[in-house]
Symmetry: C2
């Protein structure tokens, strides 16, 4: 690839934002149904259960990112994500399991990951492999979907309160906690990507990593949609 001079930071950020936002999974039919209050209890539970597998991959991919950095200052910044996620009380994993209980799922069943759909597993494992195989800056760029997360999390918390009043309100804490964490995390990651992607080729590779990450999040929802909406091969006969 010979792609000429690097984009100016503003143009590079704009390209990341553009390519990311039009592929972001807030537009997936499953999320549209969710936010319009059209999911059944079973369908909402199915999403929570399957998405938990994605949550379990996050500290693993973040540890791989840590292992790719030669810079203690970067590691001091990035390690906070793992601490945030693994904290026994307030971590992302703990809060997601509380969300699972809030929608009426059995905590151990969810934590075991034994009922996760194969397609969900493939998509999430592809994320870990992407991070393992690509360069540090590309791996960090793949995290930039977080740039779009705060808005989605805010809308989701409001939509659930309105449409799914049977869900324990306290269980929505995961979504609320992500608003500020995702904002801070994505700003740090974006700074690093802008500073590190010093050639046009690296910039293109970063955009490609973000696009692939969007495809991974989308494929996860495709698998849940196929099993629980249409063709709905996991729906009970009477649904």
């Amino acid at each position: 690839m010979s792609l000429g001079t690097p984009l100016a930071p503003e143009a590079f950020v704009e390209q990341l934002r553009e390519e990311g936002s039009r592929r972001y999974h807030d537009r997936h039919p499953y999320h549209v149904l969710m936010h319009e209050g059209k999911l059944t209890k079973l369908q909402l539970q199915a999403w929570v259960l399957n998405r938990y597998y994605y949550q379990t991959r996050i500290p693993i991919k973040d540890a791989l990112i840590l292992s790719k950095s030669e810079d203690p200052a970067f590691r001091r910044m990035w390690i906070r994500r793992i601490l945030d996620h693994d904290d026994e009380d307030k971590g992302g994993l703990a809060l997601w399991l509380r969300l699972a209980e809030g929608v009426g799922l059995d905590r151990e069943e969810v934590a075991s990951c034994r009922s996760v759909l194969p397609g969900v597993r493939f998509a999430c494992d592809a994320y870990v492999e992407l991070v393992r195989e690509r360069s540090l800056v590309e791996a960090v760029a793949s995290s930039l979907t977080e740039f779009f997360a705060p808005d989605l999390m805010s809308r989701r918390a409001a939509a659930w309160e309105e449409h799914y009043p049977w869900v324990d309100r306290a269980a929505l804490e995961y979504f609320r906690s992500r608003v500020s964490r995702a904002r801070r995390d994505s700003e740090e990651a974006l700074d690093f990507v802008i500073r590190s992607a010093t050639t046009r080729e690296l910039q293109e590779r970063c955009v490609a990593a973000l696009v692939r990450k969007c495809e991974i999040l989308w494929a996860l929802l495709d698998a849940v949609y196929a099993a629980y909406v249409t063709p709905g091969w996991r729906l009970p006969e009477s649904a």
Copy 2:
């Protein structure tokens, strides 16, 4: 490999201790010279400079170990090693750079790793690859050289105070800090290895990983010995 029933924990620990202690690098001629006060200033500096590269590999291999674990409780335990090592003031890397200054080296020269001997680099990179390629329990077992470290660190601090009075006393803090950290870390690691190596084959693999790690530490010193003692191809002509 079919190796029969697993050893009882006590016998397994005894085997790890036996195979590790007889290969541990406290017996290497470079360390023997060091602790007998027979290294020149240049030779002591050479060891500090080269060993820094090993220090820089530690958080990387620990992040790889983190990435191999599916257990948040294990990760909460293991992540402390990276925090301990990367802390800006009191971390292992910061203390080692203070040691480098204490023996009269330029901090930036050491931090750059540009004068590290090729053989030292190969040995340290082999450690990262061992951790990357083997299973979690084997990777943890390879850290069990720490079991022997507290004794070596105590002897080293005393030997340096006696034989190398020109070294800034405060710079020896790294060795002192390792005594309690290595004891705690190796006990945790040993507990995990005992619990996780549930077959004779796994136990043998753990012993093999520890043996390989001892070989890595030994090879590091071989490279420094060859360059700075005999044949001494890095010694100044007049030495």
